[in-house]
């Protein structure tokens, strides 16, 4: 047990960080309150730094999880992108309130601030993602997943002044509960099918079943339901319906978070569940594979098609986020090593570039109000070339224009798909990518090419930290390919199964 706790050091660091943030947010000193973001960043950075020391060879030898190395990769990048996400929300919380306090128009009241709890929840949610990596049985997995989800419900609702955000939070929560129920039912069936919760034991049971001619129906139904439940986390069809509403309703920084952290968690969980049954030379068991196939196709097409008609930038990016889950499912279907590696690499690339897009939106405001309509970013290049360029670069990367980072991610996924013989699936992905060009180009065109409209004239960059985050992730989108080789090497190492 002590060995397993050793691997939780990053999570523990974040836990301490969360507590620190929660307290710091309630301090009377404005400087400390504003410094909560830095505290969160610092803890995330420490968690990052700790990882090479945690995952040493000798400790790994004692690990008893299914994919012992995956934690190193996921935790590191979750924390790293977590820093970007914290920056994205920098200055967003309590903006008006703090402003009023600074001017002396209001006095500080612990009940009216939310900065501290926001950061605490954020760190907790990231810690949840990290915990998934260490799951060795279904219960742990479920708890970790809920640790990821529950803070996000609050985060969506944390914009208390916004009715849209409240509505979004409600939807997110209710539907999240439904999906969790679905997943839990699936887990229960899995237990029924295998008689155990422990992954390593389940693997053996499933292997035995497969050798005898196929996984039992209970097992199949259980897996399917669990996967569908997880589809909610990654916003894959048909569980994607909440995503546009929620992504639109939440503030941009929160949406950036939603689009990455729960998605990573869901993806990881799906990979783990699939690892339980394993990929043989024909891939996953037919029913699972077909289900994932249908889900992937629906997700790619519905996501990209849905984005076409949108007028809200966040909603459009929400649909785009749905579509990206579809692409990633290709990697899951393709299976290890290349497919899973591709998914892991893609998660990082997607996290970085997608954050940039939302961060650009987060840094903008009109008279202190959030901007959301596409028209608001029209002619952005005239007011802030930096923000406009960042948005364009991130859209280009999401679209997969070479040589930006996003292209390489897609290349890996397509290569994995083709190498798994999923030609039709890849062709559909190709068509979906082509469709996505429409709306990404629209965003690029609006930000870099269009002229200012009367409505968009008042929009300007008011927040510094989100802009820095946007620029940083745009730089990652451009310069990322330089570290692609080592990133891929890390991902390859992450999916190495322990020697039997």
């Amino acid at each position: 047990m002590a060995d397993r706790l050793w691997f939780l050091i990053p999570e523990l660091i974040l836990l301490v960080g969360a507590i620190t943030c929660a307290i710091g947010g309630l301090v009377n000193t404005a400087a400390i309150r504003r410094g909560v973001g830095f505290i969160a960043c610092a803890f995330l950075a420490v968690a990052c730094i700790s990882i090479p020391f945690v995952y040493t060879t000798e400790h790994l030898a004692t690990a008893d999880t299914l994919l012992p190395n995956i934690g190193k990769y996921v935790k590191f990048f979750a924390a790293l992108i977590g820093i970007l996400l914290v920056m994205t929300s920098g200055g967003l919380m309590d903006r008006k309130y703090e402003h009023a306090i600074a001017k002396g128009k209001a006095t500080f009241s612990a009940l009216r601030t939310s900065g501290g709890e926001y950061h605490a929840l954020l760190l907790l949610s990231i810690a949840g993602v990290m915990l998934i990596c260490e799951a060795r049985d279904l219960i742990w997995l479920f708890l970790a997943l809920e640790l990821v989800s529950l803070p996000t419900y609050v985060m969506v609702a944390i914009s208390r002044w916004s009715k849209v955000a409240q509505e979004a939070a409600m939807k997110y929560f209710f539907l999240g509960a439904v999906s969790a129920a679905l997943m839990l039912y699936g887990f229960a069936l899995l237990y029924g099918a295998t008689g155990t919760f422990v992954f390593t034991e389940m693997v053996d049971v499933f292997a035995a079943q497969r050798a005898e001619g196929g996984i039992s129906v209970f097992g199949q139904i259980g897996l399917l339901l669990a996967i569908f439940g997880l589809c909610y986390k990654i916003a894959a069809a048909p569980m994607h319906l909440y995503a546009p509403d929620v992504y639109q309703g939440a503030s941009a920084a929160v949406t950036a978070f939603l689009a990455f952290i729960p998605k990573t968690a869901g993806m990881l969980a799906i990979i783990m569940l699939c690892t339980l049954v394993g990929w043989d030379e024909n891939g996953l068991p037919p029913a699972i594979e077909m289900a994932l196939w249908v889900v992937a196709v629906l997700t790619m097409l519905l996501g990209n098609i849905g984005a076409l008609l949108q007028t809200s930038a966040q909603r459009m990016l929400g649909y785009s986020s749905i579509a990206h889950s579809g692409y990633m499912l290709i990697g899951v279907i393709a299976g290890p090593p290349l497919g899973i590696v591709a998914v892991l690499v893609y998660l990082v690339i997607y996290g970085a570039t997608n954050t940039s897009a939302f961060a650009t939106l987060a840094c903008l405001s009109r008279d202190g109000d959030r901007v959301d309509s596409l028209e608001d970013i029209s002619g952005l290049h005239k007011r802030s070339p930096l923000a406009a360029t960042s948005l364009a670069v991130s859209c280009g990367s999401l679209l997969g224009i070479p040589p930006l980072f996003g292209f390489w991610g897609k290349l890996l996924l397509f290569a994995a798909g083709i190498a798994a013989g999923q030609l039709l699936l890849v062709l559909i992905a190709v068509v979906a990518s082509a469709i996505s060009a429409w709306y990404y180009l629209r965003l690029i065109g609006l930000s870099l090419l269009s002229s200012t409209t009367p409505r968009s004239e008042g929009v300007s960059v008011t927040l510094r930290w989100p802009l820095i985050a946007a620029v940083l992730s745009a730089i990652i989108a451009i310069g990322g390919p330089l570290v692609l080789t080592s990133l891929m090497a890390d991902a390859e190492q992450a999916v190495v199964m322990p020697e039997e």
Partner: protein
Amino acid sequence: MIEMISIFSSLLAMPAVPPAEVLSASDLSWAGFIVWMPLLSLVLCGLCAAFKVQSKAPAIITIVCLGTSFLLTLLLWNSYTQPETIHLFDWLQVHWDDGSFVANFALYVDSLTLLWMLFVTGLGTMIAVYASEYMEHDVGKGYARFFAGISVFLFAMTCLVMGDNLLMLYLGWEGVGFASYWLIGYFYQKPSAVAAAKKAFIVNRIGDVGLALAIYFIWSTFGTVQYDEITTVLRSESYDASFGGWTVHAIPYLLMLAAFGKSAQLPLYVWLPDAMEGPTPVSALIHAATMVTAGVYLIIRTYPLFMLDEYALPTVAWVGGLTAFLAATIGMAQYDIKRIMAYSTISQLGYMFLGLGVITSYGAAYHVFTHAFFKAVLFLTCGAIMHGFAGQLDLRRISGLRKMKGWKIVSYTMLIGCLCLAGFPFTSGYFSKDAILAEAFVTQGPGFKFLGWLAIFTAGLTAYYTFRVWFRVCAGPVHFEPGDELHGDDPKSFRPHAPRFAINFVLITISLGALLAALPYFVPNETETIQGGWVAEMVYDSPAYAGVPQVAHAAIDSHDVGHGTIEQTVGHGDILGMDPHKAMYYISAIVGFIGIAIALFFHLLNRGAADKLRSKLLSSRLTRWLPTAMENKWYVDEVYIALIRSPLWILGKFFSLFDKYIIDGAFVNGIAALPRAGARWFSPLHNGAVQSYAISMIGGAVLIALLMLYMPEIVSYLQSLSSQQTEVEQAMLLMGGMP
């Protein structure tokens, strides 16, 4: 009389010139300057244009350069002993393992080349001299451009004639077409000139395509495009009648297409009359004397290839004969003297092709030679008149020119030209035309006799319309009206500008040449086996002809009723029981006299009669079509527009709309609209209501899960369904019942 057939047979016995000897020519490299001098002239004229030289320098440059070319040609002719290739530089060479396409920039000098080059450079120089005065109103404006155009033309023409391969010929071929475009469109602000230039280029392009395809065929059949090598192949042992399959039969027809385009034969003659929009020296040089004879040159050059198909030469003969007749009828009804000359050119070119078709390349070449001189004279006199009378060309508005001061030389040189053209006895045109006419009766072929009679009749028409011009313009009472190019002169006090020294000098020189062109007929040639004088020797000494006995043999053996045979007793035709060569002396003289006499009556003695006759013909419903059709050029242009131009244009318009609305609109934008349509289709799903989301999500998940779980069962059920169906169908089929 030239005994064509005996020459043929004698050629059979002649030893062929081995190609190895042909290629040994290092001492003649200076001949390249015949080609380079016009190019030099072009460059210098271009510089003059660029620096806006305000003097006659371009003319002088051109005259000097072209004169040098002519002198060099004379020198070359003088030192000529046997066909030689003069390599200038490698142009296009593609080699691979065991094949190659070689077309060097090299000159091939044989007697045929020299014959052509002599009058091309000679007349070119003279016409440049003429133009130096004719174009002087444009000094400093388009003067340099004009002479640059002349230089381009001469350069291209020398390439065409002197090139040692078909690709060089093609270079010259398109080059002269381009020069023609340049010069016809000289008055580029005149829409009609621009249109005419365009038409010339495009119609010629149609022919060029034929030539290009012919080159492909020749190369794919013979593996070379060099004349001497083609000859070698044809002469080789491996050659037999079936050589090359069907492709060899296509070659002559494609070459014909090219030749007919360039030489303005049916049905591609429409560009030549319009080409008269160019300055007159251009018409004289390009559209009468030299360029339009390129088609004749091409066919003579590739004559052996025409032997490869049974019907090739008869086709040439028929097209030539019909063109000669048709153009003559149109010429009779025109009033613009330059246009009359243009139609007469088409008609005379028709004679040349008739000559080629009835296997007298000698006659054709001789006619080219004489025609070059007398038609140049005629055009240049027309030009002088046009120049002097402010663009007036209507033969009804000028009369009695020979009685005006300063116009004597013009009138009488024109008379010389007319006499030659009409085939007046003992002029050059008389001998050259007779050679062709007689051969139409000598050689046996499909309808050749008819063509012969048609040509004789046409000769009468020619005499008539030629002298119609002369009697109207030069004879009769003095009367004139100025044209519309007054350049500020008052039309009432208008005085004709009589030509000065340069024009008169050129007119005299060339008309002398036209007269003297009869002489070569009597000059004995060195080779005793050939009869027919110097020109005959020049033609028959070309390996393109002499080196292909086997082709000729094959062509003759392959069909018995062909175009003449070697054996005189079998093949030599007759006319009214007489030897055609002798009979033609009398017949053509008589026909010519009749034609001149009719012209004399209608256009000098009783000028009103012609108009009366015309109105009489017009008034009768039965005969109205004849003058109308003749005056309207038999509506060939209109037919072209109706059958080709308009449909293509409409097609273009249709395609343009098709492109916009079907391909781009329906096909491309339609596909692009699909995702958006899909988006509209799916958008009600996102209605914002939590409960419906939940139902969709759970429902969808369960649906997919069930579908997947029972997939094998579903598939097998579907399969069983379809197999049942086919069983049922088969059963029904077996019963012979309903489908």
